[in-house]
């Protein structure tokens, strides 16, 4: 079992990074803090004994999605980069709504009685994952391939006009 201190440190870093993503005015800095938030979530997965998902989180989110977002920032840059990530007119309303949403979710979470199962995580969790993925969940698995194909083709069609 992991010491609660590790969890609190990781959770604190993740929340600070997420706040930095939202509150900084330089879009590049926001994108870099986003990588910190992704790595923090990956360590949270490690604490939850989901090692494979932690690796996937770092490979896909911190490795590919964050890079794609940085390229997106670089390709759409206009004006002063230090003023590139400002708030719109809904700042106050959005902040109030998200605070209310958070209060609601936290109240509901605290009031619910969960049926906790104290069994241990299976040793060969990746093998079990593969058995489920290629057995019971084979249709979602193939549809994921279709989704990726459609996303690739669609993104190329949409972005191709930019080059021409």
């Amino acid at each position: 079992m992991v010491s609660p201190l590790v969890f609190w440190i990781v959770a604190g870093i993740t929340i600070i990074a997420a706040l930095a993503v939202v509150n900084l005015t330089n879009l590049i800095h926001s994108a870099l803090w986003l990588i910190v938030a992704f790595v923090g979530v990956a360590i949270t997965y490690l604490i939850l004994e989901a090692e494979f998902l932690a690796a996937v989180q770092i490979i896909v989110y911190a490795g590919a999605i964050a890079i794609l977002i940085v390229f997106g920032v670089m390709l759409t840059r206009r004006g002063d980069i230090r003023e590139s990530n400002l708030f719109n007119n809904y700042r106050l309303a959005g902040g109030l709504i998200s605070l209310g949403l958070m209060a609601t979710i936290v109240t509901m979470v605290v009031k619910t009685q969960w049926a906790i199962d104290v069994a241990a995580v299976p040793a060969n969790s990746v093998g079990l994952l593969a058995q489920n993925l290629l057995g019971q969940f084979v249709i979602p698995f193939e549809i994921a391939a279709m989704l990726l194909l459609v996303a690739l083709v669609g993104a190329i069609i949409i972005a191709k006009e930019v080059r021409d």
Partner: protein
């Protein structure tokens, strides 16, 4: 002792920060970043439920994998749209994307 509630509250805080970013930001790329934070917090929820409520099976992990696939597809198409809009309008400000409004 870290219980399920701690993970759920962490995910709730991350979700609300992401929601705030998605609603209150001017730049469309920053809106996408907020949406990515929201998807991540949902994944924490799924993995925490799988760990604490039914650790013998991997259903929550497969759900999280599917969410990751959808997030990758979403960010690919979303950024391509933003690039195309930028080419036509030279802006990524969501306040300027009002062509359907008369």
């Amino acid at each position: 002792m870290v219980t399920l509630n701690h993970y759920l509250i962490l995910a709730a805080i991350l979700f609300c920060i992401g929601f705030y970013g998605a609603v209150a930001k001017k730049n469309a790329v920053a809106v996408l970043m907020g949406i990515e934070l929201m998807l991540n917090s949902v994944n924490i929820n799924l993995v925490a439920f799988n760990r604490f409520l039914n650790p013998g099976e991997m259903t929550g992990h497969i759900f999280a994998l599917m969410v990751i696939v959808v997030a990758a597809a979403e960010v690919a198409v979303g950024l391509a749209l933003i690039l195309n809009i930028y080419r036509q309008r030279l802006t990524t400000d969501v306040n300027d994307l009002d062509w359907l409004k008369w």
